[in-house]
């Protein structure tokens, strides 16, 4: 489901360039002591990469730096918000990775010195590497939306990094009186998991329909079009007619500021006072990317689409939501595929081989109600120095019968079991 397929064909020119670059490194050849690879960030991308490195070559010294002892997964966290699932079903530890010989360091990174190839930790210690993989995910921009800072997020949750914020939004919806308005502010692209705001709106509407039937969901959107739009809109007509309303960019839906003291959301053409305000702010690559100097002025990290090597720093690779992945969506599935492909490329580079051009697959399920889901599968390959979508992907049919939606809901659960087992189990 979330497989990484290596294709046999090589990008000859790129391979030669990468080979030359790897030979230029002074100290890494087969005969040397085990190469050291540090992975920063233990989400779907980083954990998959660390694991794949160790499985490709058990002699590699692989360290995973992640300050949180427990990882809380975003996929399916919208079901937690809607009261359909407990947060514990989203949480995973790193015990199995440690048992495979991956060194788990539960600390925050303070600084990275790419010249000395060293990572400085919060406790003052320093770790050196031959190759560094950054998988820092996203950072929410508390400087991008006037009125929305970290303290405002305690009143108007973003719930865009799973954990306490997910539970806060759930409690607010549970405490809301019938007849209340739940507003969801959606930023422009790029954002983590592009269809997730609409899945969230759907599942909140599912909760309201049975528990608080006079309540509504209002989506204030900085986009005109969104991923899987026709499928979502069909589902909303079928299931949530009169419950979900969306104001698109060209209808004045872009949020320009918020006032947390009154729970007011201000758009270009009007104000909305919400009982529950879920503000999803603009995002950028996780904090570590900027500290390392791997992010460019977009806030994201430019990479080589064959090796995931940073275009700004030597010996550093960036995977997952933090990288500029071209057509690849910022999703758990894509991050996992990138982590595994990056591990293969690092192994090849360390062994003096030309890395193969990876073909990545990603799949994204959207659940709009229990037993009603659809999906989007994509295949991606490097083209003109960026990842582009290639033939072979596909979306659920808009006119599919409900049995198909029910089967896809089952497939979505199986996908989650598989990817979490593969990454953490």
């Amino acid at each position: 489901m979330n497989t990484l397929r290596q294709v046999g064909r090589r990008d000859a020119l790129r391979g030669v360039a990468a080979l030359a670059a790897s030979l230029a490194l002074p100290s890494i050849t087969h005969a040397q002591p085990a190469a050291r690879v540090i992975v920063v960030g233990g989400g779907f991308g980083g954990a998959a990469c660390a694991r794949a490195l160790k499985r490709i070559d058990a002699k590699l010294a692989v360290t995973l730096i992640e300050p949180n002892k427990t990882f809380t997964a975003c996929p399916f966290s919208n079901e937690v918000i809607a009261g359909l699932r407990n947060i514990e079903a989203q949480q995973f530890g790193y015990g199995k990775l440690a048992a495979e010989g991956i060194d788990i360091v539960a600390q925050a990174v303070k600084a990275i010195d790419p010249q000395r190839r060293a990572v400085m930790l919060a406790d003052g210690t320093s770790l050196s590497y031959d190759r560094l993989v950054l998988a820092p995910g996203i950072e929410l921009r508390f400087d991008a939306l006037p009125g929305y800072d970290e303290s405002a997020a305690q009143k108007m949750p973003h719930a865009w990094q799973a954990g306490e914020q997910t539970l806060l939004l759930r409690r607010q919806i549970e405490a809301m009186e019938d007849g209340g308005l739940v507003a969801i502010a959606v930023p422009a692209n790029p954002l983590r998991c592009p269809p997730a705001p609409y899945e969230r709106a759907s599942l909140i509407a599912h909760y309201l329909k049975s528990r608080k039937p006079r309540s509504k969901v209002l989506i204030l959107d900085a986009k005109d079009n969104f991923s899987q739009q026709r499928l979502f809109e069909k589902a909303w007509n079928e299931l949530y007619d009169g419950i979900i309303e969306r104001i698109a960019l060209s209808d004045g839906g872009r949020v320009t500021s918020v006032d947390a003291s009154t729970n007011t959301i201000i758009t270009e053409f009007g104000d909305h006072i919400a009982a529950v305000a879920n503000i999803i702010p603009p995002q950028r690559a996780g904090r570590i990317a900027a500290i390392a100097g791997a992010a460019d002025k977009t806030g994201w990290c430019p990479i080589d689409p064959v090796t995931f090597a940073s275009k700004l720093l030597p010996d550093v690779h960036v995977i997952g939501d933090a990288c500029l992945g071209g057509a690849i969506p910022k999703s758990a599935s894509a991050a996992s595929a990138q982590g595994k492909a990056c591990a293969r490329a690092i192994f090849d580079l360390l062994s003096g081989k030309a890395p193969e051009t990876p073909k990545l697959s990603g799949i994204c399920y959207d659940t709009v109600a229990p037993g009603y889901a659809f999906s989007l599968a994509g295949l991606y390959q490097s083209k003109d120095d960026i990842f582009a979508e290639v033939e072979g992907g596909g979306s659920s049919a808009v006119d599919a019968p409900r049995e198909v939606r029910a089967r896809e809901a089952e497939a979505a659960r199986n996908w989650y079991t598989t990817i979490t087992e593969e990454t953490f189990g």
Binding site: L249, S250, D251, E268
Partner: protein
């Protein structure tokens, strides 16, 4: 779908610099695209946007095919007296749209 949206402050102090926003839904078809059959898709754009305050023109823009769908204008003016802003969009195929909003200047 709202066809024209405007945002004018309801009140302002005399001398305040105020922001005015106007957006109208329009396809802004460039006239350069072709259908699968090879025929040109005819041009259909807004060609002019005007804002008047108490009858006097205060802002005008000419629009061209390179401007994206649903053109959005934001501009500033000084609040001098109470009155009414009138907005007018005109374009190809006899397109015409108007909107207005009042402001109280204290």
């Amino acid at each position: 779908m709202a066809s024209a949206l405007i945002n004018v402050p309801k009140r302002a102090k005399r001398g305040d610099i105020i922001e005015i926003r106007a957006l109208t839904s329009h396809i802004m078809e460039t006239g350069y695209r072709r259908k699968a059959s090879g025929e040109i898709v005819p041009r259909d754009i807004i060609t002019s946007f005007t804002c008047r305050f108490n009858g006097q023109e205060i802002f005008r823009a000419d629009l061209f095919p390179a401007i994206a769908a649903n053109p959005y204008f934001s501009f500033f003016t000084t609040a001098r007296e109470s009155g009414r802003f009138e907005f007018e969009w005109t374009g190809d195929n006899g397109f015409s749209q108007t909107a207005s909003a009042a402001i109280t200047v204290e």
